[in-house]
Structures are given as C-alpha cells and as structure tokens.
Symmetry: C2
Subunit: 345 residues, 2 copies
DNA sequence: GTGAAAGCGCTAACAA
DNA sequence: TTGTTAGCGCTTTCAC
C-alpha cells in the first residue's frame, strides 16, 4: 500500500478520471453536484491529501508569501509578523520567514531562496547594513510582487508601509517643549538610515517651529542601544549648558538614558524630561513610566499584506502606481515626560 | 522570450540534455569537471534560477520545516523562532510559520496545511486550548518527522524540548525561602496545562523540603496575566495570616503583583519577596528589578531543530526511541527577591 | 561520463 | 458535464 493517495486513486475507485476528480476537489463550476459529493466522500474515505507541491508546479502559484525580517527576536518584528500572518492566513496564504540578521548577504540569500521557491509575493524590512540593492531589482525583473515595511528605500520604486517617523519625532519633541522643557536633546540612530534620519529631522523641525535654535551639541549619534542612552547622558551632563530633556530614537535608548540620569540623581520628570520611541512593552512598567510613540506594529503587518495582496491580484496587468502607506504614529504620554518644575507647564 | 529559463534551455544552448545539466547543477559525482563548468557558466549567463517547486515534486523533499506557535507577538516564541530559523537556515532549510492563536482548530488547520505542503518536518508548541490530539496522530501516520517545543504532551510519544519547569519552580521557591521568607505564596496558571502544573508542583516540593506545610490559601489560580497578579495580591493581603513572598507563574503576573504591593506600600524586597518566570526583558529595568527564571529560548529553538534534523535524517529507517531534551532553567536573581528584613540572612 | 525516457501529482486546454 | 491528452520543471533509473 502506498502511503500517499493521489487523485488517480480516487478516480480509479470511482471509475472516472483524474480531471473530474480534480474539478470536484476544486469546486469547478462545470461539475455535477452528484459527482462532487461522490468524489468528496471517496477522498475522505481514502484519506486523500492534496499535494500542494504538484498543484503549485502546475498552476504556477504557491500560496506562499516570503517575509524577510532582521530578527524574530526583536519584539517589533514579531509583532508585525503576527499581523502579516493573521491576514495571510485569512486569505489562504502561508508565510515563509527569513531572518537577515541585519546582514546584506543574508537578505540577498533570502530573496534568492524566495524567488527559487516561486513564492507569490515578498515582504521585506531591510537590513541596516544595506549597501547594494541589486537583489531587489532582480525581484522586479521576475515580476514577483514585493513590498517593504518599516524599513524601506525610496529610490527603488517599491510599495511600502511605514510610520510617519518625521511626524512622530516632531510630536515627541514638541510634547517636551510644550511641557516646559527648554533645551531638548536628541539621541539618534545611524543617520544614513532613512527612519533614523527622519526622526532627527522631525526633532529639528519641532525646535524650529518653537523658535529654538538647533544646537549640534545636543545631538548624540548613537547606535540604537541601551548603552548609547547611557553614553549620551554622560556626555550631556558634562556640557556647560546641559539639556533638560531628551527625545531618544528608541525606547531602549531612552531606558539607558533614564538609568544614567537616575545614577546622577536627576529627577525624571521635573528636572529632566524623557521620551522614547516604539512603545516597547516594558515602558509601561518602569518607574517613572516611559512616554513614547507607538508605531502600530500589528496594523503595519496587516497593511503590508493588504498592499501585497493587491499587487498579487494585479499580476500580469498594467503596473499600478507605486504606493506608500503611511501609518499615523500614536503618542503615548506617560510619566517620564510630564511637566517641568518651576517653569510654566 | 519566456521569463523563466529552465534546465532545458541550458541544455539546448550547450547541445546537451537536461539530465546532464541537472547533474552538473547538483554536483553529481558522475560528471566531468569540464561539463560542470560549462553548465555553471551558461546558467549564470542565462540567469537561471532553479525551480524548487519542480525539484520538490520530483525528489519528494521540500526543504521546508513547518513551525506552529501560539503567537509571534509573544516574545518568548519570537525568540524561539529566532533559534529555529538560524539553525534551519544553516542546514539549508526554510521555515513556514503558522500561528495557532491558542486555538485548537487553527493548530489543526496548520498541521493540515503543512502536511499538504509536504514539509520535511514539523515543530509545534501546543495551543493552550488543546483537547483533541488526532491531528498529531495524523502526522505520525504520514511519517512526517515532528517535535514539540516548550508545550508538549507526554502521551503522544513525540520528541520534545522543554524546560525543567518543576526544577525551575523549585529553585525559585527555595530561593525565597533561603532568603528568609517564611510564607511563600504561588500565583499559578491554569493547572490542567502541563507546564503550569509542573511549576505548581515544584513550588510545593520546595516547601516540603524545607518542612513548610503547603497552605492552599496561599495558592491563587490565575490565568497568566498582569491582572491575575493584581488580584492575587489583593486576596492575599486580606488573609488573617498573609504571605511574605510570592512565586509568580510568569513575569507579567509578577509585575501585576508588584504593582499591587506597591499600591499597598508593601516594601519589595524586605517585607515581601517576589520572583517571576520567563526572564522577560522588562524585568531588568523595573524598580525593583525582577528576579526570575530564564528558559533559554534561543537554545530551545536550536535544540528543537537539532532533534528534528535527526528525525529527518533517520526517515525510512527503524524508528528511534522517543527523546525529550530537558533544558536547564537558569536562575536570574535580582532585587525583588533579596533577603527579608528582621530575619536571618 | 552522457543521453533517452519516464514520471513525481496535478491542472487546463480541447474534444466529445 | 466528463474524458483525453499534454505538460509544469525537474530528477532518476537505465542504457550506452
């Protein structure tokens, strides 16, 4: 007895052909209800399981979406993947995960793997260490639908879902200013990466709007880590005219900043305001609780899938205009950025 | 011009056959170096990309591992997936992710999808809401290698990687006792789930070892959430003879407990000791920092893959004995469980 | 070391 | 509505 039963086995049992069985199994319009029922019954009896590999080969569709993320260990991406998978699942797609570990080579290999696997679409959040975009061009050549999420690259003409980082940074900075802080510093990420640059510019523009001259001494170029928060504060506090608040590029950076401020017995908030970015779960529970900006991670995943799904549906037709979905950042103001003492509030 | 070039195209160009090209591309032993080089060169020129779908259909191997997790949004699973994917990738496998959302039906559907896709192996962390195991039996029938991780089920005779929850709970409880706490309470998860039951039993056994009689009033049956931590403390503090420490089934529960204790101005540690479970990242940063037990998530993923890989390699041969890899829990003692005041230690 | 030929399991054009 | 036939792209006997 063979372990796998095929449509031919069903056909044999019912004295019909594979074609008919296939039609019955696929709800083909031109099939009689009676045959369909017979086939379904026989299939169940024989414990038939459709071979999607064979079906993919023939139909040219795999029902698989390839997703490349920097790391599944990072909360943010886990959350986005959650959004993607839920939506994909609802639409009959499955997702193949590939981690780039922030390496350009892995990312490239992931794309190659997906292309070989003939996935129906690809979703990518770019590795930080990106310097060559040939692999994305390759994807376009194969006409495989692709979208970016969170970390995108404008010049590539690829659809994307991103958060309005500029606006988010603007909000965060303005919030500190409105709460009475006069010298707001910024701890940035690597500025050659779009999102970090956008946050920096948002910060600068908020200062500008409020008539505050941007002081380069109040910018600390970090690497998105707890320790860059620590180092930044260390440096800031030695300044002749130190800041009284900081907008950190990301929550863990803000955390490092808070730890160092506490070590120096600087009161948060009141003496010093802090706001982060990303709405990591811990922010709600530390003391003081951390103000931050939420990026709507799950929604980002859902929107990215929606975008991709549209591209898949449009395959073969005239190309659609490139579309970028911009998600609204959601401010989450907690204790760490509350009003400055002895000042107007 | 066709968009996809096949081995036949390469063969045509070189005046040879598909068989030869296939051999060259697959490093077949019986192929001359010269032909191989020619083929490789032509393949590169034509921009050939192997169709893994066709190759899978013919060879019966897909190079895909199906992974079912409750939710990618939960840190713990993201971290395990990270471990799995890294290892899988190194061994030439890709992973297909399916979220059960703790639902038995989704889990079942995921298994079915994987079986249809002819994945080379399956890894599952069971949904909480499990009541029927027929889908796992089905997997065994198809001879598809399968392993459990973290949430396993003994009676199924399926390989698994788990943490020694009993030991971990024992350590946590004993640690509180050794630090001078006399009445240690436990906030549990649903006790019909293996891991939560094991933690409860570990707690009980630690009490026993130290000659402390288990008091059912000091057990709060929660649902693994912040609010069950809050509720538990609320109840505990109303007791005529309240506890002076608590071992919480999981870090967020511990967090809820700490919040409620603070609200009642109970000093942590000193008056009251707290220890959690899981080593969530926030525990390091709250005040006081949270003692907990680390479950070696990434390693769990790696070990699970290793186990599965062995099964895949053994396919067709005599079945191996069922194997359970038990990971050592790693205690992470921080401030929240430090020594009790006015007592020895 | 290479070629010829068959076929993995399914679907889709065309015919009946 | 059903059957016939071909073939998706690859691998793998078997022969030479």
């Amino acid at each position: 007895m063979s372990l796998t039963v095929t449509i031919a086995d069903i056909a044999r049992k019912l004295n019909t052909t594979s074609a008919t069985v296939s039609r019955a199994l696929n709800d083909h319009p031109a099939i009689s209800v009676k045959t369909k029922q017979k086939v379904l019954k026989a299939a169940a009896q024989l414990n038939y399981r459709r071979n999607t590999v064979a079906s993919s080969l023939r139909s040219g569709q795999t029902g698989i979406i390839g997703v490349i993320i920097p790391s599944a260990e990072i909360n943010f991406f886990g959350s986005v993947v959650h959004g993607i998978e839920s939506m994909a699942n609802q639409h009959g797609y499955n997702i193949l995960i590939y981690q780039s570990n922030e390496s350009w080579e892995h990312e490239q290999k992931g794309i190659e793997t997906f292309l070989n696997a003939r996935v129906d679409g690809i979703m990518v959040s770019m590795a930080k260490e990106a310097n060559d975009y040939a692999h994305f061009i390759n994807v376009k050549k194969t006409k495989t639908p692709i979208v970016f999420f969170d970390r995108a690259h404008d010049a590539l003409n690829i659809d994307a879902v991103v958060v309005d980082d500029h606006k988010a940074a603007f909000m965060a900075t303005e919030h500190l200013i409105n709460n009475g802080y006069k010298r707001v510093a910024h701890i940035s990420g690597p500025l050659h990466i779009n999102i970090f640059k956008a946050r920096f510019l948002g910060y600068k523009d908020a200062l500008k709007k409020h008539g505050i001259v941007y002081d380069p001494k109040l910018l600390f170029k970090g690497d998105v880590s707890i320790s860059s928060g620590v180092q930044a504060i260390e440096k800031f506090l030695q300044l002749p005219n130190p800041p009284d608040a900081v907008f950190a590029v990301e929550d863990f950076t803000a955390l490092g900043a808070m730890q160092e401020l506490k070590r120096h017995h600087v009161l948060i908030p009141g003496e010093f305001g802090v706001i982060g970015f990303a709405n990591e779960r811990f922010g709600e529970y530390i003391t003081p609780s951390l103000s931050t900006i939420d990026q709507q991670t799950v929604k980002m995943g859902e929107e990215a899938f929606t975008l991709l799904y549209k591209l898949i549906g449009n395959k073969g037709k005239k190309e659609l205009a490139v579309q970028t979905t911009v998600l609204e950042p959601i401010p989450v103001y907690r204790e760490s950025s509350a009003g400055k003492k002895n000042k107007k509030q």
